[in-house]
Each structure stands twice: as C-alpha cells, then as structure tokens.
C-alpha cells in the first residue's frame, strides 16, 4: 500500500502522506464512536448534569430581595447598618414603591416567604405593607410604620441589606444548624432548633451499620453461591434475585406487617409465651425497623459483587493452603479473604452510597428516630417549600458522597472493583 518516495515521507497509494491518512482514519472512527455514545451523553446531560447544576445554583440563589426590592436595595447602599439609626425617608419611599409594585404584579409572595425563613413575622410585615402601600402618601416612614411595626426595627433593615446580594450562604448555614446573626457573624441556632447536624450523623452511622450487616449476612451466601454445585447454586441464586425483582414498596410494607406491634412476629412470640401480650416488642417505626428493612433490601447489592469475585477464585488455592499446613481459619484469613477484598469493597461502597440516599424505606418504617436526612430533603421540597434549603442539604450530601468515593479510590482503587 505504501511506498517510500524520494523525500523519505511514507505515502499511501493515492499519494497522501501515510501520517495524514492515518490521522483521518482515526478521526473518522472516533467520530463514529462519539455518534454511538451521543444519545447516552445527551441523556446524561439532560437527566443528570443539568439537574445537579440546577440544584447547586438553587442552593445559593437569592433573587427575591435584589429583584423585588431593587429600589430599596439601591437606597440602602449608603446606609450604615452598624450606625444604630433607621434609614432615611427616601429609603422608606423606595420601599413603599417596591412593595406597591410587588403587590401589583404579585411578586411579594415569594419575597415574604424568603424573608420569613430568616425572621418570623416578615411574611405579615411584607403582605400587610404591600396592601397598604398601594394608597400610601408621604411621609412614607409613618405610613409603613403604621402598616407594620417591623419597619421601625433595625434588624429588619439589616436583614434586607444582608440579603440584598443575588447569592446567599443562608441555606448552607441553615443546613448545618447555623445562621447569620443580625451583626453578620456566623452563629449556632438555638439548641431547641438544631436538627440537621444530628440527622447527617445519624444517616452516616446507620448506613455504616447497614453496610456491615449486609456484609456479615451476604458473605456466606455469596460463598455458597460460588462454591455449591451448579444445580443448587442456581436455586440459591433465584432465591437471592427474587426479592431483588420484587417492588421496593412491597418489601418495605411486608416488613411492617411482620414487625409491627400487632404483627406476625409479635403475635407468634405472644402465642409461644416468650413475651407477655402487653409487653410486645417495638421493632418498627424506629431505628431498628429502618436497619432491618434496609439491610434486607440492600442485601443483593452486597451479594452479587461478592459472588462475582468469589467465582473467580480457584478452589485449588484453598486446597494448596490447607496442604501446606494452614488451619481452616488461617487459610481463610490469609488466602481466601484477601482475594475477596475487591468484592467487599465494591459491595460496601455500593450499599453505603445507596443507603445514604435512601428515602422511601426510612419514611415508611423509620418512625421518628429512624429517619434519614433525605426525608428532610423531601420535606422541604414538598411541604415547607423551602427549595433553597432542600438544595443546600442535597448538595452537602452530594459533596460527602464524592469525598467518600475519592477516599475509597485512594485506598482501594476503583479499577479493582468488580460489579459482576
């Protein structure tokens, strides 16, 4: 195909230099490959990258005050929030104009919700003043003070000045039980309002316990799966996979039927005389319920990676270890177990990350004490409608998962992971 020309450059039959031709061919095949994965990339972009980007931007976005109180924000530029004096009449006039306009185009609803997150009472302050400002005449200071006493308090004005930037840290601070004091310093919220730190911690330690339990329960099963004769191991595999194919909701509600105080297990125990009828075990709607149900539900995610690794360990290794004089436990610990570590690692990280993000099961069987941080993300999305806070909590969760992944990668190496 190629020949050497006088100048020493290799060319193809049609005279194009070989290098160029090669490069073209590679480019063409790369382009084809890209076309093949394009649908997936597009899907990932729309369904994964964009929502995450949206979430991250929502967790710091603060458009309400700068947009709907633009005149007031401009007028507050020159006001010194530490001066101890209320802003001047022109600021009050700007506020009255902003509120009247906001009332007209129905923008003050969002504004009042936003400010009420920071300070109780701001909702009615904004709504009432918005109504009043439509017909307000100068002097505006008196008019606004008459509409609501909040406009005579320094904190209100400091709050507006503080939240006048289009970005805010308030949501992230709230997500870790902190807030900005009126003076602008970061402080802890009152003890009777602290909730998220404990919830993050609980989510992590309970996920850890669940991961450990799936490992303890799943390891022998995976071993059996890998080592039993084919007929028996196939049956066992079906037993592992059947629950895996059953709906998550069905499996969760089945646990309710089994574990509740009037449930199957308690009834049996009472019938057998193990416990008295009025001392039934409380096994559900608490931490125990969450741990039991989630361990069961996540078990296949541990068994399958373990199985795929164990399948590749030749049984001759153990025979060799035994024939070289190793006691059963020693040969297991020194030979077999180290070979299963990639499987343990894969199963562990899979179960742990899945359980950190679990939401339906803790909501149904977790009661009060078995709830995860994810249940509060759902709560802020659906009930309290504080989407900024929901985004901030979710972002923190995302960062933590990424950190776990990086640590895992450092210690074990993602390339060693086998998923089946």
């Amino acid at each position: 195909m190629s020949e050497s020309t006088s100048s020493g450059v290799l060319t193809t039959a049609d005279g194009v230099p070989l290098k160029v031709s090669l490069r073209r061919a590679v480019r063409r095949s790369r382009f084809k490959a890209l076309l093949l994965v394009a649908p997936l990339l597009l899907f990932l972009g729309i369904a994964f990258v964009m929502p995450i980007f949206d979430m991250l931007s929502r967790s710091v976005a603060n458009p309400e005050v700068p947009t709907h109180l633009s005149r007031t924000v401009a007028a507050l530029e020159d006001w010194d929030s530490q001066s101890g004096e209320l802003p001047d009449e022109s600021t009050y006039a700007a506020l009255a104009t902003d509120l009247a306009e906001g009332h007209e185009n129905r923008a003050i609803g969002r504004l009042s919700s936003r400010l009420n997150y920071e300070q109780s009472g701001m909702r009615s302050a904004i709504m009432r003043s918005g109504m009043a400002s439509r017909t307000m005449e100068p002097p505006y200071k008196e008019g606004l003070l008459e509409a609501h006493e909040a406009w005579g308090q320094l904190e209100t004005w400091r709050l507006i000045k503080r939240e006048s930037s289009p970005y805010t840290m308030s949501y992230y601070l709230a997500a870790v039980d902190m807030k900005l004091s009126p003076e602008g310093a970061i402080v802890d919220v009152a003890d009777n309002q602290k909730i998220y730190q404990a919830l993050f911690w609980r989510t992590f330690w309970m996920s850890g316990v669940i991961t450990l339990l799936t490992l303890v329960l799943g390891f022998p099963i995976a071993y059996l799966l890998a080592n039993l004769p084919l007929r028996k191991s196939n049956l066992l595999m079906i037993l592992v996979l059947l629950p895996f194919w059953t709906s998550l909701l069905v499996r969760t509600t089945t646990w309710i039927a089994i574990l509740q105080s009037q449930g199957v297990l308690n009834d049996m125990m009472v019938a057998l005389g193990v416990i008295a009828d009025d001392a039934r075990w409380q096994m559900i709607h608490n931490k125990l319920g969450t741990i039991i149900a989630m361990t069961h539900i996540l078990l296949p995610f541990m068994i399958l990676p373990l199985y795929s690794v164990m399948k590749t360990i030749p049984s001759s290794y153990m025979h060799a270890a035994r024939s070289l004089g190793g006691k059963p436990f020693l040969s297991f610990r020194r030979v077999y177990f180290p070979l299963t570590i990639p499987g343990i690692a894969a199963g562990g990280i899979l179960v742990f990350i899945l359980s950190i993000g679990y939401y339906i099961t803790p909501a149904l069987v977790g009661g009060q004490s078995g709830r995860f941080i994810t249940n509060y993300i759902a709560y802020h999305m659906q009930t309290s409608l504080n989407w900024g806070l929901a985004a901030a909590i979710a972002s923190i969760l995302l960062f933590v998962v990424i950190i776990f992944y990086l640590v895992f990668n450092r210690l074990i190496g993602v390339d060693k992971v086998k998923l089946g």
Binding site: G109, Q262, L385
Partner: protein, 366 residues
Amino acid sequence: MFKKSMLHHAILACSGVSVLGMAAIVQAEELNVVSWGGAYSMSQQKAYHDPWMEKTGDEIINIDRSGNALAGLRSQFEAGNVTWDLVDMLPADAMIACAEGLLEPIDHDAMLADAPDGTPPSEDFVEGSLSECFIPQIVYSNIVAFNTEMFPEDDQPDSIEDVFDLENYPGKRALIRKPINNLEWALVADGVAPEDVYDVLETEEGVQRAFDKLDTIKDEVIWWEEGSQPPQLLADQEVAFGSAYNGRIFNAMVSEDQPFEIIWDAQVFELDGWVVPAGKLDKVEDFLYWATDTQRLADQAKYISYGPARESSNALVSTHAETGIEMETHMPTYPANFETAIPKNDPFWADNNDELTRRFNAWLAQ
C-alpha cells in the same frame, strides 16, 4: 349518555370499546380536580362531580394531592406546564399562592351564584371567609377522637385534658406531624382558656409551655401525615386517641360502624375551599358557578359531616344519604360541639409556621 362515572369510563376504555368513549371525551371537557382523597373526595364526587358529568358530559378526574397542593402548584408553574384545573386548598395556603400570582383572583359576586333568595355571595358565605383568590366550600374541624372499646364504659374520656392524661387514659396517641393544632391543644390541656391560646403562643414562654406539655406524652405518640391514617390506626387499636379531620371520623363511625367517639372540646376549626390556578378560569368557571351554589354545598353535607360555607345552605342540610341519620349533631358548628371551639388563627401561623415547624422537627428528633 353512557358516561355514568369515571369507573364506567375506565372500564370502557380498558375493555377495548374505547372508540365510543374517546369520541365523547374529545367533545367534552376534561377537568383535573385536585382534592384531599378518601371520604372527602368521595363526598365531592357524589355531590358535585357525578351530577356534573351526568349533566354536561365533562370528564372530572380526581387527583389526591391537596396535602401538598402549594408545592405542586409552584412546581407546575416553574415547569411552565400547569395540568391542574381546580384545586381544593386551605385558606392559608391560598393566601400565599395568591400573593405569588399562582391563582386567579375571584370576583365572588360576579362569578358565583346568588342564594335562592337573591342574597349575593359576598353576604351569603360565612363572614370573613372570602379572600382574594379563595372560594370557601366547607367548615371543617380538627378534633381528637378515641376508640370507645379501649376504655371502660363508665370512664370514657371527654376533654382535651384527658388526651394528655396518660395515667387515667393510657394508650398511644396519633397526632399530626405538624405544630399546628398540637400546640393549641397542649396549652388548653395545660389550663389556658381556648380564646387565649394564640395570645399565649405569641410569647416565648407560651411556646415553651406548649412543648413542655407535649413532652409529657411524646413517648406515646405516633405521628401521622395523611388524613386517612388516624381512622385506620384507631380501627386497628394501634392507638387509643387520634387527632383527625372530623369528617373522616364521622365516615368511619356511620359507614364502617367503627366504635369511635369525637371529643369536641377545643376543636380547631377552619375553612377549606377552591382555588383556580392562573389561566384556568375559562375552563372551570361553569363548573365552579354550579358546584358552589346553595344546593350543591348542602348536598355535600349529606355525605360528610362538614358544615357548608354558605348560610343559605345550612337550612337545606338534612340527613346522611346512606344511613339516614340526622347530620346536624355531627357538624362542627352544632352549638353543643362548638362551645370551646378555637378558630384557627391564619395570620399567626402565616408568620410563625416556619420557625415553629423548625422547632417542632428539632423537638421530634431529640
């Protein structure tokens, strides 16, 4: 003609004779109505939806999402795809949604039917109940009910204090997973007069007092989130007491013969009604005009023990449609039930709900 009910329709569509059904849908309107589900949606179905579908051939689709109606509306507007045509909502949520521009403003006198004697709607509806975007339907009440089988016949509980009295009335309590109602009841049980409850709650000491009182029963409480849960928990005897919407308990009592009793003491009552998502007025105004007239509101009270929001409907309220019992004594507004009633204070909760809910959640998680 063959459109008797949604079920009928579903059967038609499923069984493959859908051609006829589809043709009918195309010429008639399809209305997505969001409501609370359970016994309450059933009462609306029978009083409003079925007769309306019979009359016009419209198709009314029930969506049980009122528990999260405000969030649903917001996300639909955010996504630019509003599929709900009419929403059943609490007045406090309606006020917020209205201020956010999610709802159509309503001119009550121009858009709703007069009473039979010609009284305009603005005078016929319960005083102070009409707000800019809100059309009230019913007066309902939050009450505590109990299962009579769980207490001796000669010592049945009858006040809110008894709900907080674990010694004389032991057993689990099902309460709503919100500060609303619970804080009010805790104060009443602690000796505050029903009419002073919100004055006390305005102060930090008052809130602390309410939480302290709730602390005394915290270990015995199962917290519920859906209105259908407390009747179920009571029927299963998982709890002895359950806070609930009075109509759901009524429904369980008369239609399912459950041995429940309502404690009317310190009932917290409020309104519930319709709102129209912005841009949907043309689609629903005919239905709205018809479904909120005097007769229709009175009809709904045949199926569930919620008081009609129109004065003129009250005279038409008679007996329960299925069992024939007199509805009057089961209504929240019946004088004997109403003596210690607390009107829910919307402005208070509009301002303080964020903070008190934070505190309530933190208290729950402790």
